[in-house]
Assembly symmetry: C2
Homo-oligomer: 293 residues x 2
């Protein structure tokens, strides 16, 4: 993708909060961008600023040289890649397939392998950094697939992120994202329990943060989500329902590898209790409500 290269046509499937920002960066940089998403109205902003609409994932795949997907669940990924008239069936040989969804490592491998038989070059490239990271093009992008394909796609990733790391072969991006979610899951219990304890002990939780957030107890969640818990602000951020999905993928994947993860197992069960309380659409910091009884 040097200045001498013709810009590839980019297709983006899934124009939710994250996908919309991503497509926007490519439009701004002068790329031809095609979009498809389940509910067309959600793509309207992009269409108004120059994106071209496609009626299906397959139709989009036929028209684009780089096909990016940013959807909800592994079942959605499976459908748009492997479904009848899906991406794998319809993309032109030589195209690049980049799944940005947080999804299952084994599914990522299947896409990669099926792609190879059709001369399609797949990367799994889940991201972290949330809506703000996507908007400000400061995402962390964890990439699995061949080094050569990674190098070729790197200039495109640089429109979205700052911390872009090739983690290994197909599935390695998803595995790395699982590591990220595993670390977050247990830490959320610690942050929540520390602040609930503080409150029950009659301390001022904000003053407690002053003592503990700069030392060995310090974490992104303590400093960023702790104040929201203290302020009873449970708006998402990152949805409880999506976090549960990620923890399920990680536990299944760990199970396939024969590893027991007791902290993650407990965190998932607590978040499921929270969801059962009607908090699926809250931010992950709402775990505070479950412990603060």
């Amino acid at each position: 993708m040097t200045e001498n290269t013709v810009k590839p046509i980019i297709g983006l499937i899934g124009t939710g909060v994250m996908g919309k920002s991503m497509a926007g960066h490519y439009l701004k940089a002068g790329y031809e961008v095609h979009v498809y998403t389940r509910t067309k109205e959600k793509a309207q902003d992009l269409l108004d600023t120059g994106a071209k609409w496609q009626e299906s994932p397959g139709a989009l795949a036929q028209q684009c040289q780089v096909i990016m997907t940013m959807v909800g669940f592994p079942s959605d990924v499976e459908e748009i890649y492997f479904g009848e008239n899906g991406i794998l069936a319809m993309a032109q040989p030589g195209s690049y397939l980049i799944d940005l969804t947080t999804s299952s490592p084994s599914l990522a491998k299947r896409i990669y392998e099926e792609g190879l038989t059709r001369q399609l070059f797949a990367l799994d490239a889940p991201v972290s950094g949330g809506d703000i990271g996507a908007r400000e093009a400061r995402l962390s992008i964890m990439v699995g697939g061949s080094s050569e394909v990674f190098e070729r796609m790197l200039p495109l990733f640089q429109y979205m992120g700052t911390n872009i790391v090739h983690q290994g072969e197909a599935g390695a991006g998803q595995h790395t994202k699982m590591c990220n979610q595993i670390a977050i899951a247990s830490n959320m219990m610690g942050v929540v329990e520390a602040l609930v304890y503080a409150k029950k002990a009659g301390l001022d939780p904000t003053t407690v943060l002053k003592s503990i957030e700069t030392g060995a107890a310090g974490s992104w969640s303590l400093s960023n989500l702790g104040p929201r818990m203290i302020a009873d602000n449970f708006a998402p951020g990152f949805y409880v329902k999506h976090f549960i999905k990620d923890m399920k993928i990680a536990l299944q994947s760990a199970d396939e590898m024969g590893v027991e993860l007791p902290g993650l197992t407990l965190a998932k069960s607590l978040y499921e209790q929270l969801a059962a309380m009607g908090e699926e659409e809250s931010g992950t910091q709402a775990l505070y409500k479950l412990i603060n009884k």
Copy 2:
């Protein structure tokens, strides 16, 4: 403690790794420092640089105006304060008692109350920052007790720490330290499980850290203890046996307040399993060995 005030005589009971650094700062600043510790040889460095030896906690308490204690377990704290010829019995009225040990909030309240009846002014002031923080006088000090006494002792705390916060009445310092340990406990599970997962998935854990440590999964433990786990370096740092002690205090204290802390409960049980494997004297990052089976 302005320049016009006569420097108080400082007594320090417990000259382990932490206590030794603390006493050293006061000696260097020109204070008269008396020390007592169970094994006299451990105080020899301090005696060589001008500290005066006392034969018992009570003898030390009689000679000093500010009596600091930095010992191991709540049972040690109880003995040196409440034992026959202990600090409470022997200190001169008007003296200040500062317990720097991580100990039980309810014991801190008992010392405070018993102190008041004898005109002794007690603060609970556990610290965090470890041996390096103590050596470099950059500890975080979490203080419980009256504001007036806190203000009077603040200049002395400033020889040891940089983040010195009055958290509330007697016991509040210990409660805050419990918040610190609660946040650390569950986070350690997350860090360990993320890195074990990474290894089992065939990733390079160091490369995984590059992707995840700067974002929402980031924490002091991930960045500081993660690399030690990867390098199979399980030297303390912070001892498993002391961490178990702290978690027991926190759980008992939570129980007294009627709060359930499932993450902490699990973390304590995992660390007890680890101790049963003979790892009591290892650093807390040795939890990696339990999960990486």
